[in-house]
Subunit: 226 residues, 2 copies
Amino acid sequence: MASTAPKKLVELFYDVVSPYSWFAFEVLCRYKNVWMIDLHLKPVFLGGIMKITGNKPPCENKVIHSRKDVYRMSEYLKVDFKLPSDPSTTMFRKGSLKAMRFVTAVDMIDSSFTENVSRILWSRIHRNDEDITEVASFQLVGKQAGIEPEMLNKAISTITDATIKKRLTDYTEEALEKGAFGAPTIVAHVNGKQEMVFGCDRFPILANILGEKWVGPVPEIPQTKL
Amino acid sequence: MASTAPKKLVELFYDVVSPYSWFAFEVLCRYKNVWMIDLHLKPVFLGGIMKITGNKPPCENKVIHSRKDVYRMSEYLKVDFKLPSDPSTTMFRKGSLKAMRFVTAVDMIDSSFTENVSRILWSRIHRNDEDITEVASFQLVGKQAGIEPEMLNKAISTITDATIKKRLTDYTEEALEKGAFGAPTIVAHVNGKQEMVFGCDRFPILANILGEKWVGPVPEIPQTKL
């Protein structure tokens, strides 16, 4: 018998510049039909979170280790990943501000496309070493996500509008209020309380918080009962 | 039939000031008779690692989150833990330099006591809110660990000797050479290669590296076959 308990809200605050956000996103997308959760994708600007919290870039030994760790985690969490050929230029100099405004514009018009658009942007930057800063790239991403030309043009043309900028800032500030200092920031709403979990390595903890079971990075999707 | 393959060396570089080091230590101590590993405990001085790598203390939001995360991890990894009543005084102002010299002195005389002495020091600072800086504390710890008075007095009286200081420095430098930027730093020796893993949240990754299976924080200990 299917449970009649309401689904628990889980918010994922993410930026496509962050590989660990991608891994958390894919695992949560797999689990959203396994655990009783309502997954709410909330695009933020990681650069803003780092700046406002004063979270400093890591020391050299940590950077060297991260470049190994990110591959190990991608393998463990089964996300096909490859660092961009020039990570610091791609991730820090070019960055993701325009991309996250594009995700926000799509999300505000029709949030059913947010998951696909985000995944395709991640695949571009963190698998295929492709651009995520140009209008031409957003055209390709939108098309690949199945967005109709009219909606896509509207989304792209509003990227620099105040309402889009404001919503991205609002979500970024919301993440900060909930304790973010990086991404992914995951917030589970349970029994009237909000529990923040950071990173893509706390799924057993998140499962405990939700009263659910962590069965590894690729859960079996339960079959729909007819 | 018991495997005749030689055990794989796993080094744990740790400091008793670090709760996450304690959690990694307990999990590895549980697994040392489950996985085919030879666990080598290597006491280091975390303060030195942080200073030399330039690894900065975390921003405020991260500190707030860590104080929650450390309890969640202790619960998940089944280590009975409580933060000291005044964490910054205990962990940063008083620190662990003398304690780690004491562990080193014990380790150099008879390394069979290193595990127990470390565990008791962790229990004092990170469960019972007790001192780990005074000679009287080291007397209690040594006695509780079952060290004979003669050896214990020898260990305590040599804490400030150059050989003890040098060995602590040597292990700390060795950790740095292996890429450490904090603790716990775990180094697995597999097929002539050394693989460094950081933290107490990478056990599935460590298992992969070792070709072993991660079965959660409390594995069943295999029964000795007669």
